[in-house]
Amino acid sequence: MRADGPARVWLLHAAVVAALWAAQFVLPDYHDGVLARVMVLACFAMGYNVLFGYTGLLSLGHAMFFAAGIYGAGLPIYHYGVHVVPAFFCGIAAAALLALVAGALALRTVGVAFMIVTLMFAQVAYLASLWQGEWTRGDEGLTLSRNERIVENAWFFLDPTNPATRYALAWLLFTLVLAALLVIARSPFGRVLVAIRENEERTRMLGFNTFTNKLAAMVISGAMAGAAGAAYVLLFGYMGSTFASIQYSILPLLWVLLGGAATTLGPLLGTLLMFYIAELSNDALNAWFPGANLSQIGIVGVALILLVLFFPKGILGTVRERWLKWLP
C-alpha cells in the first residue's frame, strides 16, 4: 500500500516477461520448445489460480475447459477449414460458455461436493470426446497440418510451426494472460474473490452477491484455460482426448500448489519446475529401472502429496509470507 508499491509490482512482472523473451536467444533449441509449451500451460495454470488460489474453489474438472479450448479451436479448423484467428476465439468462447453452464450448476455446492461435481462434469466431457470418436478420433486424436495453421494475407505471414514464431506467440499469450491476472488480483473484484475465499458468509453480509462473483471467477478461469487450450492446438497441432482426462485436471492444481496459490507468478514457476522435475525423473526412472516402463504420473502424485504435507503455500507463497509481503 506504499506509494512505490504498484510501480514495484509492475516492474517485477515486466522483468519476468522480458526475461522470458530474452530466454529464447540464450537457451538451446530444445529448451526453447519446452519453454513455449510451459508458457502456454502456465496460462492454463493461471486460469486455475483465479478459481483455486484467489477464490478458494478447488475444481477437479479443469481439463474440460482446457479441452474445450483445444476442440473449440481445433475441430472447426479440421472439419470446416475455419480460419485460425476466429477458431482461436471460438476455443475461448467454448470454454467460457462451458464454465458458465458448469459453474451455474456446480456452484450450488460447496467444498468436497464442488470438487466431486466438477470432477463429474469433466468425466462427462472426457467420455463425450471419446464417444464422439467420428469427430474427435478419441484417444488417437487429430493433427492439424501446417497449411491449416498458418495465417497468411497481403500484410501478414504467421507460421506457428516455425519454432521462433511459436515461441513469440506463446510469449504473447502468456504476457496477456499474466497482465489480466495481475489486474484482476489488484482490482476491487479480486479483493472480493479473496474475501469469499477467506469468509464467504461475512462477504455476503457485506452486501456482495457471492454467487455471481464466484460464477464470474469460474468463467474467467475457464476462459483462460480455454485460451491455453486453443493456443496449444494451434501451436503444437495436435488434439486428443488425453487433454480432457483427469490428468489434465490434476496438473494445473499441482502447478499452482508448487508455485504458490494466489500468487500471480506462481503458476509459471510451478509449471516450469514440474515440467523439468517430471522429465528428469522420467529419465532417472528409465535409467534405474530399465524396461519397467514406469510412468511420470507417479512422480506427479508423489509431488502432490509431499507439497500438501510439507509445503502447502508453495514457493512464492512462502517467499511472500517470509520476505516479500508485497508480492501480488
Binding site: 500500500m1 479483493r191 472480493v192 474475501a195 453480509m205 452486501g207 452477491n209
Partner: protein, 246 residues
C-alpha cells in the same frame, strides 16, 4: 409521532427449526433514529430474530417491511444495499487480510465495485479513524487484540453507511474501559443511524436503549422504555426465574 412511518416493521414473524419455535409470531416496529435493545435469556431467539431481519435466515412465516418496502424474500446482499448492516455475534472479520482491506471491502461495496482502489483510501481511513484503528491499518486483522477486532467489525458495518445497524452482542468479551468507549461510539453512530442492539450487559442496555424489547422462548415478553422494563415483573421472572405472583 404517529404519522412517522416506521423504518422497520416485522409482522407475525416466525422461524421454526423442526419443532423448536426459535422466533414465534413476533411483531416488532422500530422508528427511524431509535436505539432499540433486544434482550432476553440465552436461547430466547434474539440472534434468530435479527438473522431474519438481515436476511441470513429465511422466515417460516410472517412479513418484514423496511422503509415501506417488503423485504421478506429479498436476499441478504440486496438488503445491505437497502441499508441494513449486520455485525456478527461471534467476531467475523477477515483475519488473514489487513485491517485496511477489511474495511475496503464494505467501502467498495457502497461505491460500486468497479471503482479503482485508490479512490476508496480516504474513506477507509476515515472509518478506521472513527473507531480509533487508523494506526493499525497495515496489520493483519487476525493479529489485533480481541477488543480491536470488535471495533474493526463496527468500522466495517459503519462503512456500509447503514440506515439500520444491527449489533449482535458487541460488548461481549470487552474490558470495562473498552465497553465505555464502545457505548460512546454507539451513541455517536446513533445520531445518524437506527440501531438494533442485542446485549447481555444491562448497564450498556440501560445507558443506550431508548426502547427495549424483551424476548423469551421466541415470543415478545415485554416492550417499552428502560425504566418500565426494569420494573416489569414478568421480565424479572424470566431473567431471575422467580414466580410471577410472589
Amino acid at each position: 409521532m404517529a404519522t412517522v412511518t416506521p423504518l422497520l416493521s416485522c409482522t407475525d414473524l416466525s422461524r421454526h427449526f423442526g419443532g423448536l419455535k426459535a422466533v414465534d409470531r413476533v411483531d416488532l416496529t422500530v422508528m427511524p433514529g431509535e436505539i432499540r435493545a433486544i434482550i432476553g435469556p440465552n436461547g430466547a431467539g434474539k440472534t434468530t430474530l435479527v438473522g431474519l431481519i438481515c436476511g441470513r435466515i429465511e422466515p417460516s412465516s410472517g412479513r418484514i417491511v423496511f422503509d415501506g418496502e417488503d423485504i421478506t424474500r429479498m436476499p441478504a446482499h440486496r438488503r445491505v444495499g437497502r441499508g441494513i448492516a449486520y455485525t456478527f455475534q461471534i467476531t467475523s472479520i477477515y483475519p488473514r487480510l489487513t485491517v485496511f482491506d477489511n474495511v475496503a471491502l464494505p467501502v467498495q461495496r457502497m461505491r460500486g465495485s468497479h471503482v479503482a482502489s485508490r479512490g476508496i483510501r480516504s474513506e477507509v481511513m476515515h472509518a478506521l479513524e472513527r473507531v480509533g484503528l487508523a494506526g493499525e491499518r497495515d496489520k493483519l486483522a487476525g493479529n489485533l487484540a480481541y477488543g480491536h477486532q470488535r471495533l474493526l467489525e463496527v468500522a466495517m458495518g459503519l462503512s456500509l453507511k447503514p440506515r439500520l445497524l444491527i449489533l449482535d452482542e458487541p460488548t461481549q468479551g470487552l474490558s470495562d474501559g473498552e465497553i465505555e468507549r464502545f457505548v460512546a461510539l454507539v451513541r455517536e453512530i446513533g445520531e445518524q443511524a437506527t440501531i438494533l442492539l442485542i446485549e447481555h450487559n444491562m448497564d450498556v442496555v440501560m445507558q443506550l436503549a431508548e426502547q427495549i424489547t424483551v424476548l423469551n422462548f421466541g415470543k415478545v415478553l415485554a416492550e417499552g422504555a428502560p425504566d418500565a422494563i426494569r420494573a416489569n415483573a414478568q421480565v424479572q421472572a424470566a431473567y431471575l426465574g422467580t414466580d410471577y405472583d410472589d
